[in-house]
């Protein structure tokens, strides 16, 4: 039970206090996704709230979601790089650039319930069938 910043108080008000404290702390924390953007998309769905803290809450939640997906994709990417064993390690470390690819992303999103299927290749480019990490689109 991690509470962000808590004065421990007993009773059911504990949770409410925690919540209100958390919301207050949100005003200090600036989420990466700006408020105007979140408000724009929320307005499209009919979400009405004059309270800015709620918008911040949504922004933070989205940011957390994206961060989770990105970290999963990063793990996939690193795992892939680890399996590609080179003969001469000292010559070229696998410190290639970590590229967010569609493959890793689709696997990461699949765990979160989003099914993304990406077209393998379009037969109109000369770099077809190459290692996706080594070609940047």
């Amino acid at each position: 039970m991690n509470h962000n910043k808590q004065q421990s108080s007993d009773g059911g008000h504990d949770d409410d206090a925690a919540l209100s404290d958390f919301l207050a702390s949100l005003m200090d924390y600036t989420p990466t996704i700006p408020d105007e953007l979140v408000e724009h998309f929320l307005a499209k769905t009919g979400f009405q709230s004059p309270d800015l803290r709620l918008t911040r809450l949504v922004a933070v939640a989205t940011q957390k979601f994206i961060a989770e997906v990105a970290s999963d994709a990063l793990q996939q990417c690193k795992a892939r790089q680890a399996t590609v064993v080179r003969d001469k390690r000292d010559k070229q470390q696998k410190d290639k650039r970590l590229v967010l690819t569609m493959e890793d992303l689709s696997r990461a999103l699949h765990e979160h319930g989003v099914n993304v299927k990406h077209q393998e290749y379009f037969a109109d480019s000369p770099s077809i069938g190459m290692d996706p990490a080594s070609r940047d689109e």
């Binding site: 991690n2 949770d15 924390y29 996704i33 929320l42 933070v60 970590l98 590229v99 967010l100």
Partner: protein, 387 residues
């Protein structure tokens, strides 16, 4: 983190050229930037274009899903405005796929929901990543200047049926005729039209002359002005020339103006209905095409010549193309599809000609002359055949 600190390979946003501008593009571009920043903080150094777009699309959907779910819960509770508990419920719904602490609790207080706790944890642990750009408030609401109503202007609406609170009519100067630069183009067009009209005038007078020549036989152009008399004569001369060169310009005959004989079909009617296709039939024997063509047009030539004579009398004749249904062929031993000529072609042709001429009631001397000319021409053709 400033712009210089970003290592992502994507440069500043430039939308794809073939995308048509829409309100969504602006917002999506910024979402891409934000998502790129988040991924970069996780450790990625560069992105695939399609991967970034997919992820930003997922982000937008996530935001909209939270909003929609929160709105639904608020409506369920009988409210129009959402509050924090609606959002928490929405987060729980969305987070069920991944799972959170306490998800299996049937009854639990929303304030102590696992999602909130996880969020709080995240806020506490992660560092802040301020957005790279500063966003204006969007979408910008344009200030529209509405047309003032009658009441606001202080005018009386021009009619009892028009209430005064409706917007006023535009200034009549804006839609009425006036000499503005726009009208100059209209005036140019008018000038062009006038030129064309003037050009068409002599043509029209030509047609008029033809018509009253046909009807009045040069009696008295009463309807024509004196000033146009000279023009009319010129037009008449032109008409003659036109008729000579192009028979289609000749004025049509009135009904009953010219006596025509009734059609007598020959006995052999195999090709009688193909009188107009005499030309293609003759072409089948493609030896001397020009000969057969000439002979096919022989009646036309004859009619034209007679027409020449008659034009002086003010008659214009329609060429009797389709009148003769008899096929006559010039004399050589040509075989035809359905040979309808019993006797030797040579004699028969001449006989047919004469009989055809005999059928015509009008037998002027000029006609005779035309016959002779035709015979001579046919005789020439015969000589050609012998060559």
């Amino acid at each position: 983190m400033s712009d210089g600190g970003r290592e992502s390979e994507r440069g500043p946003e430039k939308p794809a050229p073939q995308r048509k501008p829409g309100g969504e593009e602006f917002a999506r571009a910024f979402v891409k930037v934000a998502v790129a920043q988040i991924c970069e903080s996780e450790g990625f150094q560069s992105f695939q274009q399609s991967a970034l777009e997919t992820l930003s699309d997922v982000t937008v959907r996530y935001i909209r899903d939270i909003g929609k779910t929160a709105h639904v819960y608020a409506n369920q509770a009988g409210r129009t405005e959402s509050n924090v508990f609606d959002i928490i419920q929405g987060l729980e719904d969305l987070g069920l796929a991944q799972g959170f602490l306490g998800a299996s609790d049937i009854e639990h207080c929303l304030a102590s929901s696992g999602t909130v706790r996880e969020l709080a944890q995240y806020v506490g642990e992660s560092e802040q990543i301020p957005f790279a750009y500063s966003l204006p408030q969007f979408p910008v609401v344009k200030d529209r200047k509405l047309t003032p109503s009658f009441l606001q202007i202080g005018e009386e609406p021009p009619g009892e049926h028009i209430p005064a609170w409706l917007p006023a009519f535009p200034d009549p100067g804006t839609y009425a005729q006036s000499s503005t630069p726009n009208d100059r183009t209209i005036e140019l067009k008018m000038a062009k039209i006038e030129q064309e009209n003037q050009r068409r005038k002599p043509e029209r007078s030509l047609l008029n002359v033809n018509q009253w020549l046909a009807s009045n036989e040069l009696e008295g152009p009463s309807s024509v002005d004196a000033g146009d008399a000279a023009k009319a004569k010129q037009a008449a001369a032109k008409a003659k020339q036109a008729a000579e060169s192009n028979p289609f310009l000749a004025a049509p005959l009135q009904y009953g103006e010219k006596e025509v004989s009734s059609v007598v079909l020959p006995a052999k009617t195999k090709l009688s209905n193909d009188s107009t296709t005499g030309n293609p039939i003759s072409k089948y024997h493609g030896m001397d095409n020009h000969v057969s063509v000439l002979e096919a047009f022989a009646p036309n030539i004859e009619a034209m010549k007679s027409g020449l004579r008659d034009s002086e009398e003010g008659h214009k004749k329609v060429l009797l193309n389709t009148r003769p249904t008899v096929q006559f062929k010039l004399g050589s031993g040509k075989k035809y599809l359905g040979s309808m000529l019993d006797s030797s072609p040579q004699n028969k042709s001449f006989e047919v000609n004469e009989s055809w001429f005999g059928r015509l009631n009008e037998k002027d001397d000029k006609k005779r002359r035309a016959e002779q000319i035709l015979k001579e021409s046919m005789g020439n053709l015969q000589e050609l055949d012998h060559l």
